[in-house]
Symmetry: D2
Subunit: 496 residues, 4 copies
């Protein structure tokens, strides 16, 4: 039996949930949590703007396919984190934002930084809670974590008044739940499986669209098996980028528009039919294409376009079921379709290379992108921002991370709320940066932690950048990053 | 090509979704929808308080396992429906509430009955929308319907300004979506299935708790097969009541507390571990019981109590998988456990019968319940209200509806928001009523539609009711109901 | 020093705030408050549907120009009260709704009737709070009361978990605030006053529109003085009806449309320029009329129409300032305008009388209204519902209550959320009822408290009603009411 | 007659409302507004993070005592502005945030940057609207502006879908309202005035606490007259700092705690009794002090502490009424009280000067503050951030701006949501910066507009800063600022 403060209960609950790092901008209302983190060996990463903390927590969640945590003071701390939370909401990322709060004992009196936080966060989270008693901290936090991780993942918010963090309770009165998260890997039912098989067997011009769900369900390997078995071309978007390597024979990149417009069967895996896919409608999709979709969220099934079949379940499991069910010989049947796509892919690639060969000054987006690409290795984490530029860079920088466990963070910029982890605290609008190691949320943060880092910018402010300059910046970034270590050791940040 | 009003688009979209009846209290803002219903052959059932309309739409949804629709004027019409919507939310019932709205062209000026409806309905629905253009009516309504029916079902709200209902558009500009609802019947993955099998094979004192999910997944038959295969006793609650008939040898009713308190394995099917089950905690559940749970909503898995296993999927499919997987011979193994339960069940039954034998005046709850039970046949729909009384009546009135398609409406009163379809518009607090046919939402409505109906009340106001009086009222109700016809033919209600 | 339960603290705080009656439908979650009410001599009026409780609390607030209180159980109790709260919100009535809540100690576990109440009530209240500690009960309640009464009045909501109501604290730790409501009676500044005077002195065809603000500011007497001084015709709407008696020479009723359409100066007192006044725009208001407005809520000043002058302050004080400032002789100047209005008023009255003379069967609205009017005395409280019928009845039933302290409850039906206190719990749609004494919220409630009461209905269900029948019903109602006593003595209601 | 786009309507409405500058981070969804601004001669100031735009709009509102406007793209643009809006909400600043929105015609389909913005902004604004038709743009914007400026000022939000901005309508169909804002300057009623007078006449140890309301009501001059007439010491906080110059004999700075703790009468002008004033309770306020308060928001009257008197009205008008009402001779009566305060003020000043004399390295806060103070002139705008440091600097930097029209922006940091305009986009945590001219929202913005600017930081990163370094930085900042011009000429920003 021991007495623990509320802050210690927070840290112990997080640690037990497997959390090793929390991201924060330190402040007085949440000090007891830092102390708890020291005791529980949870590293506290201090950043310079709470937006960076939220983005970093999001990135941590994506990298680990688990909960990511940002920890902020009430009032401006919580409001500063809003963009990061909204981004995680759009990207289905299980971020837990823990906000301090004015003391419960002063609620309503106009205490320092007292703000209506739960109502504010509700529209951009799967759930938002205010803790009412110290002993309930583990229960509320684990409820939030389960909510974030279950079904369609997404961010959650918990606010904890500072007096509850300071108060101590006996640990037996505030037990930390166990066995509270179950992420069942749903399979397809026999009828659904049979219909899916029929669709694929009958297809002459199949297309597979692989989105973030393939990444979240860790289905890269079964996708490769399936693509080979079905002979189908695979396009990737969002966090799905990289689930097939650039050298996989069924992976295609530059002919998505033409392929979707001419396909007779489209299998959509873990990506919504939103603006990025023309809402699944003509002219992006052929009018009479037969479309099937697998997604963790059943509400996405039938959204914007009629489906032949919608299945809600685990993409890895279902692809394995499919591989077992499909007859041999399908690749031969669709070989002409693949050949035509390959021819067009080559043409498109050639045109891009031409565009990137220019020496025009200021540097063209294409040339700049090619220089970035030249500095990127398999270990590089590329973080970009700014829709147009990111779209351009994405055509050149290979994303090839089978087994690497890295995160397609760049895809954040394509999400409907498009902010990458690093963006907003850089002093200039960063068009693309190369960071390593992974979760460095911002330049100033990295610098404050004595992490080497660098960035290659192409903003208005540096519009005179030449190809040589871009190349130099990118390489400098990469080499300095090699000298860095990450993550920092756990220590309590100084307060300001 | 034809021109359709917005009101007609509403009716056509509903009809295409399989809706045959809508429940309403008629008013000017939604008149164009009534006209559309006449054209599209959707029956309009006019009631006397919008709360009754919402409860009736909820009941319709439960009976049909599909969408139920209530249609109300803006302002007080929508606010009057709030309790019905909240009830549907607690009970996971796919009710679509369509609210009129002040004209879009006058928004913000303080128009008649202008109210902030979407924000009001949001906390008690799965989604709430305001239609912005006439041509979007089919899209918004089908989005709402998909949301209501997908995953964990629940109510939704759509408001449509009256000017958009009056405006006409060419039908080709407002196509009604098809193939927009997919209710995939998820199966268990192999690992989950194996673990579940192991739990059951090892169990010495298993208990199955069957809730509303068993009804929604239409799993009554596979539950019976499973119970027989596993030899497990089955208790039912909520909308799960009646999925095993009273004469099924594995069905138990009066020993739930003892059984859960002594079980070593509990399989929870489609019911949350909320207050009705003591939060799955001691003393209701044995401290060391191993608990597995199947629920459509993954967020319920691990809530309030550690689970050995949580599966999100279709209960019917998964029970069938289990029946195939379980070895023979399990019933012999657990026979002593069942024998003990049967002995205790008999004792409990005997005590209840004693309590109900009294001739005390005013009539005791138990006696009164027994008289009601005597008047109820398999075809009777029992609608009750008032927590204590309903709990008592439930012990006497058999719910036995294999294949009958009827609705365990009584269970509404056990839900955390406990209001039954009929309650609030009766002039006295109705403790229990016998209605037939099914969805009659209130006495005055039935009367207005010239439906025979009746009720047996036990309220303070009738506390002198004797056993004879209760019996007489209940029988009168049943016999008059036999003469009724339902549903009424479609006609446009008079406006007031 | 004494120990008080949370429930007792509620009652004591209410009593200290001058509350003598609370309206409720009794239930377990709020029992400690009833006990407190017994100790503190606050009468508990038990009704049959929480909607009636909320409407009654609203009526109490209007009658007393102070706080009115409804007290309901969590979940369905709170949702049932929503229409009453929304009505109070539209009518600017300071209703305090106190809702029970599931125990704080079980928050989030799915406790009985646990519902997200604060978010639900927020869109229709000036503020909504959840109490976090027993000792904060007086502070939160008084904050709610101050919010309800300050500036533009309106409803508020406070939820109190049942464990906090049961817990006892020393009274010195939970002091009840004093001096916490200040309703400053703001005067006009010199510039504003001068401009207002100029407008009136220059006017040839002035019109005064007196709304509910005149009632709330208790400005009937100063309005009469002002009207006489300025010689201006006065029309009344909403809760302003009756502030000038029907026999006052400046009071007009049947020519509002013509007058506003021809006025050169309109002074709007305490009523918004919403749908009831054609948004202050042509054709209701003359295009070039110069409009000035006095309202407690500055946001209403300039809404929908340009104003020459907008003043936010106390109507009584400002009218007194005006009376002092205006020169003598104005009535002579505008005499022709008044004469013309009087001629038209007589014509309109004649036409109405003709319409009401018919013996047609079923009875015409006009005749029916005249019969109601014949049964109404100065002491009668008229409660109506159903927009069209109420509009008709309002033309015949005189509202003449100088000094009577009665409430123009009928006007509720003209408000944008139009529900009168009695409506929804009557078993038939009540077109108009005559109640006495004042706040009887419904027939069944009155009956349950052994109050004589009656009603005259004109619904579809009684469409054969004749003039004789209407007259008989109305007189019966009045005479039975005379025998009643009100309010009931304080006693604890039985629980169900 | 002319055709105008929705974007042009926005700009024309703003221009007509007196807005000369809007602050933005440019993006595609709001381009039509920029075009409109070019036509209507509204300067568009492009910044590097939407948070800066919101803070700048807030600062503009404070400087002009009128509406300030920030203009942002949907999704991340709006979420980035949240902190700025929340800050304006806490500081009662009339900021209008205009957010772009996904096309109305694609609402609900998952369009680029589609986000639920209105619900998000509601908890931190006085009102939030979504425009439904192009022709309603002027009406909605003017409604928002009236709401922001009326009564207690505060921020508002309007979102406008991009298709409505692009669509053109005839200007006569979308008239821009006039005369829609009235900010009545309420006077005290005779009773209130008399009571106030009595309090002051009887006082032996009076204290006046002057907050932001004195600034907003432009009451600096009448406050000086009143203080001299009453002989009362005046303390200032929040935006009230500087309303009395540092050399005014009744202005006090360093003895507030002692004075409030010993006063017998406190007059609180335009500042809430929140955490900054110890909630108006002991030990900050004497237990038996008689407190009167004047505030624009009547809900503040009686909050946290009983008041003898609460008045809601214009502070300038009421102080003038008071000056006329008060008898002569009061200063003599309270002379001993002032003498004692002056003695203590001198002592406190001396201690501070001692603290600031240190040469310790790293530089002490006090010394650093003194160096900043030495570089500040009457024209300097001081922008600070970081609670502790700001509190320290505030003791040294004189705020003396009678008639200067400058803004006490530093006080933002004392507000409960404490972020100053410049903070968050600086690459290091800025403890204090000296900006000139006024509204420069951030270093990178200033640089992008070729504005000279500078800053003096005392962050961890520069903790070795010496006194000489601080002095040098501050002077460099000031001198470079002198060369700048502001505001920039209107031009359309480049898009990215």
């Amino acid at each position: 039996m021991a007495e623990l403060t509320g802050g210690h209960l927070v840290a112990r609950t997080l640690r037990q949930a497997g959390v090793r790092h929390v991201f924060t901008l330190c402040g007085g209302h949440i000090l007891p949590i830092y102390d708890g983190c020291l005791s529980e060996n949870v590293a506290v990463v201090d950043v310079r703007h709470e937006q960076a903390a939220a983005h970093a927590g999001d990135a941590y969640a994506r990298l680990t396919r688990g909960i990511g945590v940002a920890l902020v003071v009430p009032g401006p701390g919580v409001t500063d984190a809003v963009t990061g939370v909204a981004n995680a909401y759009a990207a289905r990322s299980p971020l837990l934002l823990i906000g301090g709060a004015a003391p419960l004992g002063l609620r309503g009196l106009g205490a320092l930084q007292e703000t209506e936080q739960v109502a504010l966060l509700r529209p951009i989270t799967k759930g938002a809670w205010s803790v009412a008693e110290t002993r309930q901290i583990p229960e509320v936090l684990t409820t939030a974590i389960r909510t974030a991780l279950s079904g369609r993942p997404g961010p959650v918010f918990v606010e904890i008044p500072v007096d509850l963090l300071l108060a101590a309770v006996e640990d037996r009165l505030a037990p930390i739940p166990t066995g509270y998260v179950h992420r069942p890997r749903g399979a397809a039912d026999p009828d659904g499986l049979a219909l899916l098989e029929t669709l694929l067997v009958d297809a002459e011009r199949p297309v597979v669209m692989a989105g973030g769900g393939v990444y979240w369900d860790d289905a890269a390997k079964s996708l490769a098996l399936f693509a080979e078995r079905a002979g189908a071309p695979v396009f990737m978007n969002g966090a799905g980028r990289g689930v097939l390597g650039t050298d996989h024979p069924n992976a295609f990149f530059h002919t998505r528009g033409w392929a979707l417009g001419h396909a007779d069967v489209v299998l959509v895996l873990g990506t919504p039919l939103d603006f990025r896919l023309g809402y699944g409608r003509p002219p992006t999709f052929a009018e009479d294409a037969r479309v099937a979709m697998i997604d963790v969220d059943p509400v996405e099934l039938g959204r914007n376009r009629p489906l032949e079949l919608g299945i809600s379940g685990d993409i890895d499991i279902i692809l394995r079921q499919l591989v077992d069910a499909l007859p041999k010989g399908l690749p031969d049947r669709v070989a002409p379709w693949l050949a035509e796509l390959r021819r067009r892919e080559g043409e498109a690639r050639g045109k891009l290379d031409e565009l990137a060969a220019t020496d025009a000054r200021p540097i063209s987006h294409y040339r700049w992108a090619r220089e970035i690409a030249g500095a990127v290795t398999r270990d590089t984490i590329v973080v970009g921002d700014g829709g147009d530029v990111v779209n351009c860079v994405a055509k050149f920088v290979p994303v090839d991370r089978r087994g690497s466990g890295s995160i397609p963070a760049r895809s954040a910029a394509s999400a409907s709320v498009r902010r990458s982890p690093s963006r907003r605290s850089c002093s200039a609008r960063t068009s693309a940066c190369c960071w390593c190691p992974a979760t460095a949320p911002s330049g100033s943060t990295a610098w404050s932690w004595r992490r080497p880092c660098g960035s290659g910018c192409r903003s208005r402010a540096s519009s005179a950048t030449t190809a040589a300059g871009a190349r130099s910046a990118a390489h400098k970034c990469r080499s300095s990053a090699r000298r860095g270590r990450w993550p920092p050791r756990c220590r309590r940040p100084a307060t300001t």
